[in-house]
Assembly symmetry: C2
Homo-oligomer: 163 residues x 2
């Protein structure tokens, strides 16, 4: 079969690419994953580049990225010495690893920064560079942030479980 891309696949690849773009990832990464996710057979690097009409370079970096996240895996196809790729079936596992590898660190960093801000604030108060009223105002606002942060810290693990 000449494997013409069906309307279904095209639509899906489009969506996958767009999702990646929104999250701040290269569109090509999403396209590659989308193509592989809906591909009954593993595809070689060339095939991917051809079908998506993007350069091998993009596919090369994209596949490496996706493989690092274990979103796709490299499979060996007898009689072909090229690398072939297929999407890992369990999408939930992927979401989980993306979360713990990308989102969770950022989140933790934010938490630490918040603490730093609080101590900085106290320091500035002691220096007298902030009036009492302003100090109280700032403290209230930061306290609100801390509250949200703590709520989120309870919510996120829950998400991981339920998803």
């Amino acid at each position: 079969m000449a494997t013409p891309l069906g309307r279904t696949r095209l639509e899906f690849i489009e969506v996958a690419g767009r999702v990646c773009q929104i999250v701040g990832l290269p569109r090509s990464v999403g396209q590659v994953y989308g193509l592989l996710y809906l591909s009954p057979r593993p595809l070689a690097l060339d095939d991917i580049a051809d079908q998506l009409s993007i350069s091998k370079a993009s596919v090369s970096t994209g596949t490496r990225q996706l493989a690092a996240w274990q979103a796709i895996r490299q499979v060996w196809v007898p009689g072909d010495r090229r690398d072939h790729f297929e999407a890992v079936g369990d999408l939930r596992e992927l979401l989980r690893s993306v979360y713990s590898g990308f989102f969770s660190p950022k989140y933790a960093k934010t938490g630490r920064k918040l603490e730093v801000l609080l101590s900085t604030l106290e320091a500035e108060r002691r220096e007298g560079s902030v009036s009492r009223d302003d100090h109280d105002f700032y403290k209230e606002r930061l306290a609100h942030l801390v509250q949200i942060q703590s709520r989120a810290s309870k919510l996120l693990p829950l998400m991981e479980k339920l998803l």
Copy 2:
């Protein structure tokens, strides 16, 4: 007071800007909100532009955006005919409105698209343009997506409640 930006504010504005950038919003929007959130007094458009060293144009569009989300409100300061802005205290309310105004629609759209894909797939099967095996494969993959979608549809309202 000449209101020199304290280290605290600078740090916070930096973070707010970065967060916006990650979510795909203009950095300036985050900066404006960050500045206002930590400002004990309402600020005029000029003040914001000055303190952030960005153009009035950016501030103008930014404030309008933020006001539309009710993240900030316009307040009248006696004796000054310029518009002044202050951040709305309740950040949770903001998160909720951002969710329902931006995220939720996108999510619904995705759901609809998924259904379209399923029917398209069936159509292609009937046309005979897809082999039975491939059809089954596609169906399985799409079913997985639908499953994730339905789980998420239960999770998101929960988030809204707990946050």
